[in-house]
């Protein structure tokens, strides 16, 4: 794989750098964002259930 990368010249190293950086950025951002979205949905549903139970 490294031999293939080296055969691509300078632009191979440049594109690899940017692709790996973008992948790391997404790996940093997406999991907390998705977890937070799920938690908000769960908490909102629970709060609505409690509110409805209280009203009835």
């Amino acid at each position: 794989m490294l031999a293939w990368l080296e055969s691509q010249g300078h632009w191979g190293f440049i594109y690899s750098s940017f692709a790996i950086s973008a992948a790391l950025l997404l790996a940093d951002l997406l999991p907390p964002w998705l977890r937070q979205r799920k938690l908000r949905q769960e908490l909102r549903a629970r709060a609505r259930r409690e509110q409805q139970r209280g009203e009835s």
């Binding site: 940093d28 908000r40 909102r44």
Partner: protein
Amino acid sequence: MNPVFRWFHQLGSPPYFYRFATRALPWFGIPALLLAAVGLYLGLLKVPADYLQGDSFRIMYIHVPSAWMSMFIYVLMAVYGAIALIWRIKITEILFLACAPIGAMFTAITLITGMLWGKPTWGAYWVWDARLTSELVLLFLYFGVMALASAYDDLRQGARAAAVLALVGVVNIPIIHFSVQWWNTLHQGETVRIFGKSSIDGSMLWPLLIMALATKLYFIFALLLRARGSLLEQERGKQWVRDMLVRGRA
């Protein structure tokens, strides 16, 4: 009370911080994205190739801002850690813990892009040079902070233990910065200076400064996002969370 001090004081309140973070997120995320697009366009397509390194120097537009961020975030994390240890403010504990994975990500980008820049420039992906080794130590410090914090069942206790490690690790930051002056390294010396003349050409400097600003704004965006999520998890049983999620007010 001075309005600025009052604002900082209010930020210590979880509902206020949550509302502030929610409002502030697009103001940092969108400019970060736009600036990164401009910086990369200029850096990849407009700036001429370097007379010595050819096109490979373009890796600098991601490597250098990431390296600056890796050190900046560590110092900020240590400051939050010190505040968390001294005053035990919940928000600073959350911000301290939120800094570590973002800092680790920037350090990993620095090391990987450095390796990919090193091969066409030095002929080797890795050398045990003072700058490279001290940056690798920084990555281990970030991992150590995250591991130590998660080793405790109580998040706040974990944050305070990890804060001690973060404070001890600050000694590595001047080592990274001055390594190219203190030792004879393969890594090049300082080319961009805040005080004094930079040895980089102006046409190459501007895209770099734009990328540096983009990474700073991204960091604030990611920090607020992570801190907001962590706050929601910790405060999930509180009345203000119910009020905010059901009636849309905090």
